[in-house]
């Protein structure tokens, strides 16, 4: 039941775009064929990659963890089917850089044999912390495209109280329809997942926001809510306007609140989760299944049978395109994500990752419109949903004035691409912002590194100075000791000579004295005898 009293607001700017979604919503979701090999990048999320738990040659079961995350902001990966590991190597992964990342290559055995699962039929019997731990172990990340670990997001901390849980089913970007199809076909699971997240963050109510160009999805969810007689979960139909699906923009539309510039929705009592994430949470808790697959839209004028597929993580994109009827004769460009925020891929020999919501094949001939100088028309500022000054940011980014560009809140830019879309001079504005953002992050890393080097250099300098002083001190002490020894030796020598001379002298002297004394005694004896003799003679 849509709350009739639910008042809606507008965010600044935005664009009405041709949705082009109908081409991929005609047929139901198809399960993609099991490929021979799955290439599973170890890092598919924002944060740190986990530690590998398997080695080449290992046999793994469906659902078995391949990595273990030790860092807080991290998510493990799992074997999407049973088979054995044939390679662990740096392989190309879908990233704008086209660089390689560490991937686990799994050769499928076709048995699809599950690991023992531990479903929890009644999540309310577990504590929110236990459920968070299960979500973390299931490797769930935000499936809207950003791939931020969900276990971190649903733990806003003790000081912030989540009042409203917002489930984002807006899916505002043209061509993409995976969330639309998911809501139509998995409405039961979605509502169940919403309930679990709501319980985990103890939110008083939950709003499922869906753009009004998806009436089938809205009615499907409404039916489930009615059937279950839930009063705290509501579906809100919101006007179709790009980029309503942006977290901050959706919050503005639903609540008229604004997320602080460097803050999070939890600062204002809100939590936003994608519909796909809610379904993944349901599967992880109620069925005990980790995140092994996702819905991917394969669409665009350049592909023969646009459709949505349930794809195992790690499936090569080329196989999906093949299943969707292959490329059109004049297909020219493969984009991961939508036409506004996606990035083009150089090859289709890349695996589908958790954040891959859409593969768009364009067939417009690649005639890059000539970029003209900025005429300062201000159209970009009019459409900017973050209320920035795109033109100013452009000047600053192109002149590499990275301090000033931050003063103009570059990091509030959500890279939605509205400014580039309306620019009459065809300036690739978002490219400039992406360039400036990565440059600033790089400078920050350099600064941290140079600070570290300074500390080490200063420490080394201090150590060397200290060693110098210590060595000088040691030398001085040694010298002193030597001097003392010398002196002592000299003194000893002098003393020793005296001592050596003394006894001899003394002995000689003593002897001489004795001799003298004897002589003297003899003299007196002879004198006295003479005297006696004289006296005797005299008497005679």
């Amino acid at each position: 039941m849509t709350r009739s009293s639910q008042q809606l607001w507008h965010f600044h700017g935005g664009l009405k775009l041709d949705s082009n979604k109908a081409m991929s919503t005609a047929s139901p979701i198809v399960k993609a064929r099991l490929p021979k090999q799955l290439i599973i990048p170890t890092q598919q999320h924002i944060g740190e990659a986990g530690q590998l738990l398997v080695k080449v040659g290992d046999k793994v079961l469906k659902g078995q963890a391949l990595t273990d995350c030790t860092e807080y902001v991290s998510a493990p990966i799992h074997a999407p089917t049973s088979g054995h590991i044939v390679e662990i190597a740096e392989l190309p992964a879908p990233h704008p850089s086209g660089l390689n990342t560490l991937c686990v290559v799994l050769e499928t055995d076709g048995e699809d044999k599950w690991l023992d699962l531990q479903p929890i039929r009644h999540p309310n019997t577990k504590s929110p912390a236990e459920l968070r731990q299960l979500i973390r172990k299931a490797g769930i990340v935000g499936l809207g495209g950003a791939a931020f670990p969900t276990a971190v997001k649903v733990n806003p901390g003790p000081e912030s109280h989540i009042e409203t849980l917002i489930i984002n089913g807006a899916e505002c970007e043209p061509y993409i329809s995976c969330d639309d199809m998911l809501m139509r076909e998995y409405a039961q699971e979605l509502v169940s997942g919403c309930g679990i997240i709501q319980y985990m963050v103890s939110a008083t109510h939950c709003l499922i926001a869906v753009e009004d160009n998806k009436p089938e999805a809205i009615s499907a969810i409404k039916a489930v809510i009615k059937e279950r007689a839930l009063h705290t979960i509501e579906v809100v139909s919101i006007p179709t306007l790009y980029p309503t699906g942006g977290e901050k923009q959706l919050i503005k539309v639903l609540t008229h609140k604004e997320v602080p510039s460097d803050g999070l929705p939890s600062d204002i009592g809100l939590l936003v989760q994608n519909v796909g994430t809610a379904v993944a949470v349901h599967k992880a808790i109620v069925l005990g299944e980790p995140l092994l697959s996702r819905i991917v839209t394969i669409t665009g004028e350049g592909v023969n049978q646009p459709q949505n597929m349930d794809v195992l993580i790690g499936t090569p994109m080329s196989e999906l395109i093949e299943q969707a009827g292959g490329y059109h004769a004049d297909a020219s460009k493969l984009i991961m994500g939508g036409p506004m925020m996606g990035f083009s891929l150089q090859t289709d020999h890349l695996p589908v990752t958790k954040g891959c919501n859409c593969l768009l094949v364009e067939n417009t001939p690649p005639a890059p419109p000539a970029t003209m100088p900025c005429i300062r028309c201000g159209a970009c500022a009019t459409v900017c949903p973050a209320q920035l000054l795109p033109q100013q940011l452009f000047w600053m980014a192109s002149s590499k004035n990275f301090d000033l560009v931050q003063d103009y809140h570059l990091f509030d830019c959500i890279e939605c691409g509205c400014c580039s879309q309306v620019c009459p001079s065809q300036i690739p504005l978002v490219q400039y912002y992406r360039f400036a953002k990565t440059e600033i992050w790089n400078q920050e890393r350099d600064r941290i590194k140079s600070d570290h080097a300074r500390v080490r250099h200063d420490f080394r300098q201090a150590r060397m100075d200290r060693e110098k002083v210590e060595r000088a001190e040691k030398l001085r002490k040694k010298k002193e000791l030597l001097e003392k020894k010398k002196q002592a030796e000299a003194a000893q020598k002098a003393d020793g000579n005296e001592a050596q001379i003394d006894p001899k002298k003394a002995a000689i002297e003593a002897a001489m004295k004795r001799v003298q004394a004897k002589k003297a005694a003899q003299k007196t004896d002879s004198q006295s005898s003479q005297v006696n003799n004289q006296a005797g003679n005299d008497e005679k």
Binding site: H95, S399, P428, Q431, Y432, R434, T438, Q443, S450, H457
Partner: protein, 186 residues
Amino acid sequence: MSILIAVVTLATISILFGILLGYSSVKFHVEGDPVVDKIDAILPQTQCGQCTYPGCRPYAEAIMSGEANINQCPPGGEVTMLALSELLGLEPMALDEEHANEPEKTVVYIDEQICIGCTLCIQACPVDAILGAAKQMHTIIESECTGCDLCIPPCPVDCIHIRPVKVEPDTWRWPIPESAQTAPKA
């Protein structure tokens, strides 16, 4: 009489302020030169000596004394030069031609098969990034290496080689759009 009062008053005031100034210059004395600290904070701390000064701090002091130019730091490149010009209010200067492009970040590694364990590189490393002991094999702690290359000349067996720092998806940077070359400067 009135002129005497004026003279006495002014003399008293100046003596009082003199005492106050004298006192505060002692009380609030700043150790070292804070501007040198600020310059030093901008420099990349490779301690490589390519500026012709023995380390980043001596170069910072030389800039402060007007002895050195702000464009003498090759590892810092244009970014450092611009930051220095902004800090000191000096006109930006062109870097030497060979340093005009942004320098590639490198680290060194020791070919451990060849190393004889002479410890000469350990003595040369300004940031203690080399681990080893006499007659023991040495190795570079890559995360601490600043890429100054000072350890290369002393090595008697040429077992130290320069290697570029690997760019990961996390450290990858978007290139500046081609149209930036034609864009006017702000």
